[in-house]
Amino acid sequence: MAEEEKNLTQDELQEVAESVPAPDEYPEGQAEALAESLDDPNVVDQAAVEVLKATEQGADTVPMQAFDKGVTAAQNTIESVMDHQGHNAHHGETTTVFGRTLPVPLYTAVFFALGALTLTEVIIAEVLKEASSLETIKIIILTGIASVKAFLVVSIYMHLKDDSRAYLVAFLTPVIMAIVAILFLLSVPATGGY
């Protein structure tokens, strides 16, 4: 799931940020290089060389330095906005799922998904209630759906998708240990009832 508003804004900002070189990285000596490369410069070529020379000479003047600072500040602002949007990716009012834009925030879309998955679980459980031969398949399907639901809550509602990896390790370690331990227990042959 991704939010269209966020992607569009980020794409536009990325384009602007990339199109403007950092002022302190602007190459020098272009006027001289251009003049040397021209064997028989015409009036337009000469004008271009003069414009470049004037630009380079003016680069160290106070107005140009102020302009440099302005551009740098704008670039920093763009980067800051992009970081902010990346961190708060769940705050938009629309959600795009499989190419379709839903008029609800991501959190609400996840809630609808959780509700739909729960209903699906109950229907499958009721339909296959008496089908003893399909019990293993039923258990696998229901466990799979429950895992998807848990994943949605943990990754999106608990922000584990965006937060520190340390949180992920702290949470997943006992979960994996528990799953392995339970599967090991289930593999032990039953020795009788109660």
Binding site: Y107, T108, L119, V122, V153, V175
Partner: protein, 210 residues
């Protein structure tokens, strides 16, 4: 110099918040182990005594299944309300957050009340906490069922009380959406509440559907 001091304290505050969140995740990890013990015990029981589980499902009936399903929706809705409340405080809307948190507390309370209704119904059917008797069709089910669900219910009650505390603090001016991120208390409570929801997602499927 004053600006530098302010900058450092802001960094320290951010580090403190990250530490609090990490501590919450470690607490959740320990709770995961606790619930895993109950879940593992139930899974082994379900594996070795499938007939007893089927009998309980029959006793619960369609009404019971619908009741528990509805209860699951309530908890999922409360988790949604929680994250929407956090969204509001991150936008600086404290009143909006308080409204969502009232919904969290209300839905959690109804969940516990309906769990009580379900327990009463099961008890009437003969599903009790202690050994039901060797010849009982439900033999052994009660202890494996009530332990994880009641332990979870206790967590919901604790969560509702914590939620009311967060609401009370918010009404007294705590938390806002300022850059200092002093809404960390809401975020940490949210982690707890969502974890309680995740546990129920697993218990619901394992105990009532499988």
């Amino acid at each position: 110099m004053a600006e530098l001091t302010h900058h450092l304290s802001a960094e320290q505050e951010t580090a403190s918040i990250e530490n609090q969140k990490f501590a919450m995740w470690l607490y959740i990890a320990s709770e995961t182990i606790l619930f895993s013990i109950f879940i593992g015990a139930y899974a082994v029981f379900r594996h070795s005594q499938p007939e007893a589980v089927k009998e309980v499902h029959h006793a619960l009936g369609l009404f019971g299944t619908l009741l528990v399903t509805f209860n699951s929706f309530l908890l999922l809705a409360s988790s949604w309300a929680m994250v929407m409340g956090l969204r509001e405080i991150k936008r600086g809307n404290r009143q909006g957050m308080i409204r969502w948190l009232w919904a969290v507390a209300g839905l959690g309370t109804v969940f516990v009340l309906l769990q009580y209704v379900e327990y009463s119904r099961l008890a009437e059917e003969g599903v009790t906490l202690y050994f039901e008797g060797a010849d009982s069709a439900f033999a052994g089910f009660g202890m494996h069922f009530y332990t994880p669900t009641a332990f979870h219910g206790a967590h919901v009650i604790a969560g509702v009380l914590w939620c009311l505390l967060v609401i009370w603090k918010a009404r007294n001016g705590a938390y806002d959406g300022a850059p200092g991120r002093n809404h960390a208390g809401v975020e940490i409570f949210g982690l707890y509440w969502h974890f309680v929801d995740v546990v129920w997602v697993v218990l619901f499927t394992l105990i009532y559907l499988v």
